[in-house]
């Protein structure tokens, strides 16, 4: 017992791969921001803070998260409420809370709070999960989704919904229920299209399926992104040499479309290398989940790492033109403090859950 108290909880694989990823991210951001050192410096500070936070968090015993799961969710909702009441409106969306010089996106915390809450709610339930439990879980997920969706922030709302659904699925949701809801989703899709989606979101989806319809308007972003990536070729145009990036043809180079910058300047080999790092992280997380000490830890590690993966894949698919444009940053690479901090927190929790072992009483 004494020994384990003195131990530092640390996963070298995740630590070094995240270190590599965020260091590369700084270089990419330097080019993407047209060599704006102040942006890179700010990002650097967030990364350093993120690592400290991650290492600190990973020292906490998983039980602390379990016991405080409801508190986390309540706290996150509180932040959402504050955002709704006092948050400034930026570009027609109310997503931020301003705290002195800092501002952060309150919905980021839900990405953590929702899976932890559901894992806590479901970890001791019998298999298969009962209707009542499913109902409560879905209610929480839908509430969180809607709160964020109406900010509006479709990207984050989707990720939060995914984070909840992953946990629900991993905890043993029955296959008949999954099949049934899939049918329901297909049936209700016209309703979603017409009533839930905003006009600009409908437009994005329409242009996704027919990008040539409006080359200078709504589909400009995706066309320019494809041109940027495609013109990178096998080896890329070289660091700082991307004409699409530096002559402003590419939109949102520092945030959502930073992958296009990487594709343009480092080519297919660069992309291959980068995606390998992500794949390695993902597989390491799977390993940690499978070898975690209990069901709660498994569910949390699974939920958080799959959320991270979904976040990555939605961003990539959008940038390369496989999915309609939704606002979603590239994890650990895109500019943005809130996103970075919440990612490091998530990995702190993952490491904590993956490295704390205990022998359960028989």
């Amino acid at each position: 017992m004494n020994k384990s108290l003195q131990k530092i909880y640390f996963d070298p694989y995740l630590f070094f791969s995240l270190f590599l990823l965020s260091t590369l991210g700084l270089f990419f951001l330097f080019s993407a921001s047209n060599m704006d050192t102040s942006i890179v410096l700010k990002q650097f500070i967030y990364i350093v803070a993120g690592f400290i936070l991650m290492i600190t968090i990973s020292q906490l015993d998983p039980d602390i998260f379990r016991r405080n799961a409801v508190l986390f969710l309540t706290f996150s909702f509180l932040l959402l409420g504050i955002t709704y009441l006092f948050g400034p409106e930026i570009n027609g969306a109310q997503r931020w809370i301003r705290l002195g010089p800092f501002s952060f996106q309150s919905s980021e915390f839900l990405k953590l709070a929702v899976p932890i809450f559901l894992a806590n709610f479901l970890f001791d339930k019998k298999l298969p999960i009962q209707k009542k439990e499913i109902g409560i879980s879905l209610l929480v997920i839908v509430c969180c989704f809607l709160f964020v969706f109406r900010q509006p922030d479709l990207g984050t709302a989707l990720i939060i919904a995914f984070s909840g659904l992953f946990v629900l699925f991993l905890s043993g949701l029955s296959w008949t229920f999954i099949g049934g809801s899939f049918v329901l989703l297909v049936v209700s899709s016209p309703f979603i299209w017409n009533i839930i989606l905003q006009p600009f979101q409908r437009q994005r989806i329409a242009t996704f399926f027919n990008p040539e319809s409006d080359p200078f308007g709504a589909s400009w972003n995706i066309i320019q992104s494809k041109v940027a990536i495609g013109s990178g070729g096998l080896l890329g145009k070289g660091f700082g040499e991307g004409s699409q990036t530096h002559l402003n043809f590419l939109p949102e180079t520092e945030t959502d479309f930073i992958f296009s910058v990487i594709g343009e300047e480092f080519g297919f080999l660069g992309v291959l290398l980068l995606l390998s790092i992500y794949l390695f992280i993902l597989l390491r997380c799977l390993y940690l989940a499978l070898s975690a000490r209990d069901r709660f830890c498994r569910l949390v590690i699974g939920g958080l790492s799959l959320t991270f993966a979904a976040n990555l894949i939605i961003n990539l698919c959008m940038v390369v033109g496989l999915l309609p444009v939704v606002g979603m940053p590239m994890p650990f690479i895109s500019k943005g403090g809130s996103s970075l901090i919440s990612l490091f927190l998530a990995f702190g929790i993952i490491v904590s859950m993956g490295t704390h072992k205990k022998f359960l009483p028989q």
């Binding site: 494809k226 004409s243 043809f249 992309v271 698919c317």
Partner: protein
């Protein structure tokens, strides 16, 4: 939970986690496949798209070739002027810039307001903007001395298209006019980029609008160069990536002769009319003059709307190129062709004689066709008929002609056709036929129409160009060369042979003798001009009647109105017996052919022969 249950749960979790993680890996693979499709399979397309995004090509205007006369004297040239060009993106405060430059360069309020209006957009896009055109020598030196004060401005050379003879060559050289773009000549540059063309002419992009400038547009234009800029998504020019020098157009060497053209202009004076002269050896057109004229320099470099309207509305129609567009009845100048038709069809021979009472009466209707001399010329054979220009001889010849044959015969001399290889907007004029008359007037062809044709009146019309070409055919005995203004690229001269097997060498000889007699003999109708020169000239004069009248007395009444007076016409060639030049002169409302048009023809021949 009991152990077994935990184990079941754990297995269940493992399966589901593997499933979801597997899905994510699949997602990553899908992304990788798509990236491969973009970067490896689609590379060339996307690379091109990226280049098209950023590369902004603008044309660089080429200078037009110059135009020379046959002695190598320049007719149209590019004359340098100097413009003050600014870089608005380097100007911090536009008002203080204007204040600072005002003492150096004189600027009108209009120029300043135009500049202020345009500079903002140009500054944003990093483009250049002209502040003042056509600087004076003083302004240039004032600016040069202070140029260190104006890092944002510089002087650049711009050209004007000018001729030293802007008025006498106006119709034949033609003028250039400003166009918005020249995209047909450079299809690789998008149309919209022409608004940013780098100019070499002060007047802007120019294009041949008439005359040789139009006819030889492709030859003269040269090839525009291009500059490729790097441009960002907002349309700002970042830097120049490459520059391809424009290629100056080829010079055009014409057959025109400044001296002879000057003579034509001088001796035609302010009368309306046209002169065409052809070098028989080359077919080259030495003179092509139409009066009245206008200044091509003004037109090519921006004429005021007022002056332009005055020109357009001038009742003498200065824009009308009478030399190739004026339709005139050939009158008596047609008689050699009619005579040859008679010889060819055995209607007459050189010895055939008639008694000319001064008129010809059409047997069918009793209509009377009068000659120019009351009482007639007595006994007339063909030689004499040419000398004295007996209408009766040729009307009675034409009376026996078949109209279809005669029309074709006249066409073989170039009437009713375009004859010049490179004349701008040449009019083919007209040879009438029975079908034509029927379709236009719904009336049948009558004998009187044919008889009228025999003396070059009635429906037959010709241009001075055609008359000169016809004179050349007569002068060369059919071995003529198609007339042209310029010869480019060692183009083969198209030797044309006018041939009629029934016209023998001796017929040709007699024809030349007769036409020589028209001017050189004591009886010739154009003998008044024989003493104006030292060499011998053959020819045929004519007086084209604008109103059909039965008597000289009636004409005296008509004469009072100048516009109804007869046109004076002559065709001539010389020096005889080995002619080198053929010429035609038409003077509108000039009356008697030989005495009025004759001296002009002689003066032109003199300056060509004596050169």
């Amino acid at each position: 939970m009991i152990f077994e249950e935990r184990q079941v749960e754990k297995n269940n979790f493992s399966v589901r986690a593997a499933l979801l993680f597997g899905l994510m890996v699949l997602g990553l693979i899908a992304v990788l496949v798509q990236v491969f499709a973009l970067q490896v399979s689609g590379y060339s397309d996307y690379q091109l798209a990226a280049l098209n995004n950023k590369n902004y090509a603008v044309p660089v205007q080429s200078l037009r070739g110059e135009i020379y006369d046959r002695n190598g004297n320049v007719l149209v040239k590019n004359q340098p002027t100097y413009d003050l060009i600014t870089r608005p993106n380097l100007i911090v405060d536009i008002d203080s810039f204007i204040e600072k430059i005002k003492p150096v360069i004189s600027l009108s309020e209009k120029e300043i307001s135009r500049y202020k209006k345009l500079q903002k957009d140009k500054a944003f896009a990093n483009k250049e903007l002209v502040l003042k055109k056509d600087l004076s020598a003083e302004e240039i030196s004032r600016f040069q001395v202070r140029s260190f004060n104006f890092q944002n401005a510089f002087i650049a050379q711009r050209f004007r298209r000018v001729s030293d003879y802007p008025n006498i060559f106006s119709h034949v050289l033609g003028y250039t006019s400003r166009i918005d773009s020249d995209f047909e000549s450079m299809p690789e540059i998008p149309r919209s980029h022409w608004k940013d063309v780098e100019l070499n002419y002060a007047h802007g992009l120019i294009k041949g609008q008439s005359g040789l400038e139009e006819e030889y547009e492709d030859h003269l234009r040269g090839r525009h160069g291009q500059r490729i800029f790097e441009m960002n998504a907002r349309g700002q020019l970042i830097k120049s990536l490459s520059f391809t020098q424009p290629k100056k157009g080829l010079d055009l060497y014409t057959h025109l002769d400044i001296g002879a053209q000057k003579s034509a202009a001088k001796f035609l004076g302010n009368r309306k009319g046209a002169v065409v002269a052809i070098d028989l050896e080359s077919g080259g057109i030495n003179v092509l003059y139409s009066s009245p004229t206008y200044s091509i320099n003004e037109l090519s470099n921006g004429m005021s709307e007022n002056n332009f309207q005055t020109l357009i509305n001038n009742s003498d129609k200065p824009f009308f190129n009478r030399a190739v567009q004026g339709r005139y009845p050939p009158a008596s100048t047609i008689k050699p062709a009619i005579g040859m038709y008679g010889l060819s069809n055995n209607i007459v021979n050189w010895d055939f004689e008639i008694e000319d009472p001064g008129f010809f009466t059409l047997p069918e209707t009793g209509r009377v066709f009068r000659g120019w001399r009351k009482g007639g010329h007595g006994k007339v054979n063909m030689h004499k008929a040419f000398l004295v220009s007996s209408n009766t001889y040729f009307t009675s010849l034409a009376y026996q002609a078949d109209i279809v044959d005669l029309s074709n015969y006249l066409s073989s001399f170039g009437f009713g056709k375009k004859v010049c290889k490179d004349c701008f907007a040449e009019d083919p004029a007209f040879v009438p036929s029975p079908e034509w008359k029927y379709s236009i007037m719904n009336k049948g062809w009558v004998k009187g129409d044919t008889v009228n044709l025999g003396i070059g009146q009635g429906y037959l019309v010709s241009t001075p160009m055609q008359l000169a070409n016809y004179a050349a055919i007569l002068a060369t005995k059919g071995h003529y060369i198609q007339p042209s203004l310029a010869s480019v690229d060692n183009q083969k001269k198209s030797l044309k042979i006018w041939q009629d097997e029934k016209i023998s060498n001796s017929d040709w000889k007699k024809m030349h003798e007769a036409l020589l007699g028209v001017i050189e003999s004591d009886y010739g109708t154009a003998r008044s001009i024989r003493n104006l020169k030292e060499f011998q000239v053959a020819g045929k004069s004519g007086t084209a009647e604008l109103v059909s009248l039965d008597s000289k007395e009636a004409y005296q009444d008509v004469r009072t109105s100048e516009l109804l007076r007869d046109h004076s016409i002559i065709i001539a060639f010389g020096p005889m017996p080995n002619p080198r030049y053929a010429v035609s002169v038409v003077i509108e409302n000039g009356e008697s052919g030989g005495a009025v048009a004759g001296p002009v023809a002689i003066e032109v021949l003199k300056s060509l022969i004596n050169e």
